[in-house]
């Protein structure tokens, strides 16, 4: 259906120009756009139906929030008032005029800490009031200062349309080598999860030691895989901005907070997920703008004590993408996440537009100022293999991304890697997985499959696996209680000591708990880089993260660059 253009009138209609015909056929006109309907919440961030900010504190308890007395609180209000807003600064912070706070956000001479001292006491409506004053460039200015970690990073999806664990491993290895700090996977057939999660972990550690991985599943299995050390973090714990949507999903803020504490108890990094548009998409926006409801989600995450949030509309991107100012609102939601001192995994992770120009413009507000994770899912497989229903960026965009980094001298977390290095890690990841499967008595990975993994692009390039046997094997992994440590031992025993060592280092973080720090990722030396030891110290031109030195030299490389020394040659 989407291959047909919107009807441009029947043949008998008024005559149109060749120009109009040409424009009608442009990909951007395959995208959908709608008018706003603020009464129902179909509006990005500027709505007369959002409440005005207000707060009243009595005896250390918030008794009025955004015009609503405590007796009328819904459970979101209660949770936010009791757990998310810093009562000590609340009245003072909310008394500061919104334009003053907005100016502090863009003023480089005001430090990040100084802003946080105020923003941690703001109500949802006040936060909205502040960001509403900012245009998209100001939002980017503020993001540059307010994001928690100094050095930006990126995250990838590594999935397979056939849930082929060898493909996931090989693409994870390549993704890790190209620079992604985090890798996530999910499944078509959920029962495949243990094998695919093992593939992802081993592939990641074969590509670059210290990359952390996760497998998006229903909550119980996802937690189980995390506790066993087969995955390294968790992300897909969804929260919503209205009580009615929570109730429809048989959940509450407290149940989500309980789940978060289960991860924390094992030293496992985790973040929540939310995004503009989800409530209106489900018809339960309660007449509030998308951004207002998203700010409630962000505060909910803050109140639950998790270190971060994946937001930026995520799977509902088609909704803000279709209303005026929607992509500005998406940038603003990322900024609010930063303003509450949460790690932000900033979206750019779902199929967004038919237009290459729109796809690019949509990611500029995160890519240019930098984010903790610029994409919360750059597809490290072709979109046809992307089991998160497609991303805004996929493997076809690798070289474009690297070129944009080089053009604008911006660090988007990736780098160009020479083909032979990529082939080497893909091969090694597949061979390591082959050895692990053999040791675990899982269905054999043939040499042909290893060969295919080395040179493949998509799942179509791999020999078919016996799905039933694989599923039996996957079940046996769960039944036998295989843990990450078992996998480390096997890797060590089968001659993959380096991968075993990398994996063990990742597991050690669970004991130290260092990955629970805000925005923590592991660098190549397994040192956690987080908001406490790599704090964002931006204070205007010449400060903060600067793309210089070795890293800049690395990003100057592309697939084809003519040598200055000998213009008849290329360097790469």
């Amino acid at each position: 259906m989407t291959s047909t253009l919107p009807s441009s009138g029947a043949a008998a209609g008024p005559r149109t120009s060749k120009r109009t015909e040409m424009l009608e056929s442009r990909p951007v006109n395959l995208d959908g756009f709608v008018e706003e309907w603020p009464e129902k919440g179909l509006v990005a961030m500027e709505s007369d139906f959002d409440p005005a900010p207000s707060i009243r504190v009595e005896n250390g308890v918030i008794v009025e929030l955004d015009g609503r007395p405590r007796a009328e609180f819904d459970f979101m209000d209660t949770f936010i008032a009791d757990h998310a807003i810093d009562v000590d600064v609340a009245e003072r912070a909310n008394a500061v005029p919104s334009d003053e706070i907005a100016r502090m956000l863009v003023n480089p001479t005001v430090g990040r800490g100084e802003v946080l001292d105020l923003t941690r006491g703001l109500t949802p409506a006040k936060l909205l009031d502040v960001v509403k004053l900012m245009n998209v460039v100001e939002i980017m200015m503020a993001m540059q200062k307010m994001r928690a970690r100094r050095m930006p990073a990126n995250q990838a999806h590594s999935t397979s349309a056939r849930d082929n664990p060898i493909q996931v491993a090989a693409d994870a290895a390549e993704g890790a080598l190209r620079g992604f700090a985090e890798l996530e996977t999910t499944l078509g057939v959920l029962r495949y999860a243990p094998l695919v999660a093992i593939g992802l972990q081993i592939g990641a550690q074969a590509g670059r030691g210290g990359v952390i991985t996760q497998c998006a599943l229903e909550e119980a299995t996802e937690l189980d895989l995390g506790m066993r050390g087969i995955t390294g973090y968790a992300e897909t714990i969804s929260v919503y901005g209205t009580e009615s949507v929570f109730v429809d999903g048989d959940d509450t803020p407290w149940s989500k907070a309980f789940l978060a504490s289960a991860y924390a108890s094992r030293g496992i990094k985790m973040r929540f997920t939310s995004g503009t548009g989800s409530e209106v998409q489900m018809g339960n926006a309660e007449g509030r703008s998308m951004l207002y409801l998203e700010i409630r989600c962000i505060l909910m995450a803050k109140g639950a004590g998790v270190q971060g949030l994946q937001n930026g509309s995520i799977s509902c991107i088609g909704v803000p993408g279709a209303v005026p100012g929607g992509i500005r609102a998406v940038a603003a939601e990322n900024l609010v996440c930063n303003m509450l001192d949460l790690e932000c995994a900033a979206g750019n992770d779902q199929s967004f537009s038919h237009s290459a120009m729109r796809r690019t413009s949509r990611l500029m507000p995160q890519m240019l100022p930098g984010q903790d994770l610029v994409c919360s899912g750059f597809s490290a497989v072709p979109n046809s293999d992307n089991m998160f229903a497609g991303s805004n960026l996929d493997v076809e965009d690798y070289d474009d991304w690297n070129t944009v980094q080089r053009d604008l001298q911006v660090d988007g977390g990736l780098r160009h890697v020479r083909s032979e290095e990529i082939l080497a890690v893909r091969n090694r990841a597949a061979r390591a997985l082959q050895a692990v499967f053999a040791e675990l008595d899982l269905p054999r990975i043939t040499d042909d499959e290893v060969e295919a993994a080395t040179y493949a692009d998509s799942s179509a390039d791999y020999p078919l696996r016996e799905v039933l046997e694989d599923l039996k094997g996957a079940q046996s992994v769960m039944d036998r209680g295989v843990t990450g440590l078992d996998l480390v031992k096997i890797l060590e025993r089968t001659g993959f000591s380096d991968i075993a060592e990398n994996y063990l280092q990742v597991l050690r973080q669970r004991v130290s708990g260092d990955l629970l720090q805000t925005s923590a990722i592991l660098d190549a030396d397994f040192v956690p880089q987080a908001a406490i030891n790599d704090a964002n110290d931006y204070a205007g031109p010449g400060t903060g993260y600067r793309l210089t030195g070795e890293r800049w030299a690395e990003l100057k490389r592309l697939r084809h660059v003519t040598s200055a020394e000998n213009p008849e040659e290329e360097v790469s």
Binding site: M1, T2, L30, D31, G32, F33, V34, W37, K40, G41, L42, G277, V280, Q281, M282, G283, S315, C316, I317, G318, V319, G321, A322, V323, Q350, S351, F352, S353, H354, N383, N386, A389, G390
Partner: protein, 191 residues
Amino acid sequence: MTGPTTASLREVGPAARGTRPDEVVIAVSPAFADFFTRTIVDVPHAEVLRQVMAGVEEQGVTSRLIRVWDTADLAAIAHTGAKLSGSGICVGLLSRGTTMIHQKDLARLSNLELFPQSPLLDAAVFRGIGANAAQYAKGESPEPVPTRNDQMARPRWQAKAALLHLKEFDRIRAGVKPVEVVLESAPSLAG
């Protein structure tokens, strides 16, 4: 397209529990063939009903139409219909085209077949949905109706779907019980 292009559904009384084991209930949402006349991709509601009912009839099963007033949640609509259906099988329809086959013993949030991507549902799919519902009613095991998947449906249709959903919500009449309706079609123009 042959057949009527506009349909109206006339209320004939409260929806009762069916007793015939050979009936499939078709339950429509508050705005179906009412505020709205077409699905998200302009399939007329009259045609949607004609095809679903034809699919049921071809299998030798009868269909009964009801309208659910107090919710626009597809699972709730289809489950309500299933509980009123003599066979326990119901086809639930939202105005934008999203469709579900439900069975009375299933949990509300479960279903027999779900067709979530409304932009990809055309007349042939609706025909197949009717045929499958009737076969479930007969205790047969049809192959699920094949559907397509399209990652780019999100940028094109997600917001319009949300808008249609909101409009549908607007037509909800809280506390009003489901009603039995009959199809009164305008005369066919084509053919």
